[in-house]
């Protein structure tokens, strides 16, 4: 059975935030004004979090690229009153934008705070409008949105593979963040398929998952810094 997942090597991450930018342009995420961002209304399905480590002057920053964890036991799904957030058979946690009533219960239930709300309707400057991605729906005001592992790319990859009469390969389906990462810190694939790199990487001794003790069973794994 296919279980899509991600392994992020923190030792390779340089904090360049290319994944953030790639995600925003792939998924039609509009930028907001600086004062709205200051209020906590900026949307970043993939976000590079920075944690200062050590005492001055020996300080460093550690980076955690943080997408949706696509938990196998997602707390957001249980609380949704209208089944607008769901987990598909291959483990991708998605959101049905036209059904969501905007109660933000799922956002509160998510321990990783990866669910974003559309406080206003989306707006693009005229110069950016032509660069929007026609494969990804634009979210209206008042609904929740989240990282989808770029599942529109999966649909396309699947159709291409079928047209060419072959199996889906690892490189056929990669989310924008994994594709763009210049240091190959973000690796994406089928956790249950031994030929995919993630299946091997998730057995690495450096592996950990965020807040594993909560029992949410995230499908995003991290490889700790080398010491």
């Amino acid at each position: 059975m296919t279980r899509w997942g991600m392994v992020i090597d923190l030792a390779r991450c340089t904090g360049c935030a290319a994944c953030e930018v790639a995600c925003k342009s792939e998924n039609n995420i509009p930028t907001v004004s600086p004062d709205q961002a200051e209020m906590g209304r900026a949307t970043s399905w993939m976000r590079v979090m920075a944690e200062p480590k050590g005492a001055f002057p020996d300080t460093t920053l550690e980076f955690y690229p943080r997408p949706c964890m696509h938990c196998d036991n997602p707390p957001c799904i249980k609380v949704c009153p209208v089944r607008a957030t769901y987990i598909d058979p291959e483990g991708i946690v998605g959101q049905i934008y036209p059904r969501c009533i905007g109660c933000r219960y799922c956002a509160n239930a998510c321990p990783y705070t990866v669910k974003y709300f559309n406080w206003y309707g989306p707006e693009w400057p005229e110069s950016e409008r032509q660069y929007r991605n026609p494969d990804v729906s634009v979210r209206a005001k008042g609904v929740i949105e989240k990282c989808t592992f770029c599942h529109h790319r999966l649909q396309k990859a699947r159709e291409d593979a079928r047209a060419q009469g072959r199996q889906l390969r690892e490189e056929d389906y990669q989310p924008a963040c994994a594709e763009i990462c210049p240091t190959d810190a973000i690796v994406f694939g089928d956790l249950d398929n031994p030929t995919h790199r993630v299946a091997e990487l998730k057995e690495d001794p450096r592996v950990m998952r965020l807040m594993e003790d909560l029992g949410t069973q995230p499908k995003v794994y991290y490889l700790r810094q080398r010491t």
Partner: protein, 447 residues
Amino acid sequence: MHRDVAEKLAKLPPDEQVLLRPLVDTSRWFYVGAAVCGAITLWGIIAYVLQVRYGLGRTGLNRPEYWGIYIICFVFFIGISHAGTLISAILRISKAEWRRSITRSAELITVLVIGFGAIQPVIDLGRPDRVLNVLFHAQPLSPLLWDVVSIGLYFFSCTIYLYLPLLPDLAVIRDSGIKAPRLYRFLAAGYRDTPAQRLQLERAIGVLSIIVIPIAVSVHTVIGWIFAMTLRPMWHSTIFGPYFVMGAIYSGIAAILVAMAVLRRVYRLEGYFKEVHFDYLGRLLLIFSLLWFYFTFAEYLTAFYGGEPGEMRTFWAKLTGRFAVPFWAMVAGCFVIPLALMSRQATRTPVGTSIAGIAVVIGMWLERYNIVVPTSVNPRWEIEGVGHYLPSWIELSIMAATFSGFILLYMIATKFVPIVSIWEIKEGRASVQEVAERVAHYSERVA
């Protein structure tokens, strides 16, 4: 007041004369009060229209402070609604004679306030136009859905529980002809107060007063569970169900006390809301202030003793950090002030209980603030940092409108139904002998 209405009123027995007077005699101050409340309500409606037009961005909400004033008010108003049911149902079942003059005003608070509480989560929705998806795509595992069911049931049963004991009084108004004859002919639904009808009515009220208690308990338990079912620090707690029910009853008693003090003054009901009523309800308030302390202490001690880092950030934010002012104001309003005033006979007066009641109402609002906001701004993952929340004028206007809208409807209701149950008062006067015998029986020597 019109002369023939005055004549009709003068022909009625003394209880009816006093209690039906507000229905036909309206002072100028009533219109002033109604106009002020109406204006504030209208202002709030305009604010809501703006919010729908431009989006929830017009509020102070953000990530991670997804819930704010609306959810606080939701919990608060549904809490107040526990006044009527619990007080009147429990006192009816336990045959407390002093309940007779206070049940009506309490039940009326319940029914009116449930509506104002229940619209709060709808105001909070990003897509109020899709609210019916809750029925079309119902997901029974969501505590929000449990809420829809239990609040719906509660509203339905409380409305019947208000209406049934109104029947004999509506029949009196209809027969006296002092006001809107066709309206009261319709409302009284052919009730003639024959002994057979009265017996049936009392049976129905008896059954209902038992049914509404578990429903009322379920309502606030489920509201507590909305928070408790998430994994958020200081929300994910088993005490929340019972804690919310206790707090709801507490704020409900406080609200009744304030309403009674106001009604007693404006409608000259000193003969019905006597010192003894304030004294007894004051004692009940005292018990609940102690219960409140017990529950709060148990909740915070458990969190503190466990010392889990995620919980401790919220814990210290409340006790000594950014939320210290609302936290300690809550302790003063819910515990120190009511305890100090209600533990002395000398201050269990109408004035003393009103002050304690207002303190508790404010304290309980703050309690809900202290539950919703500090946890929201302190996400479990520390790197997220700490959020912030400053309600916008839109949120504050809608909150003001909710209060004024409730007061306005309550004022109007006192113009259509007697705020003290006439037939229950009369029944009480007639059954003094029977009650005396019952009490004597308690202490009878058994040979």
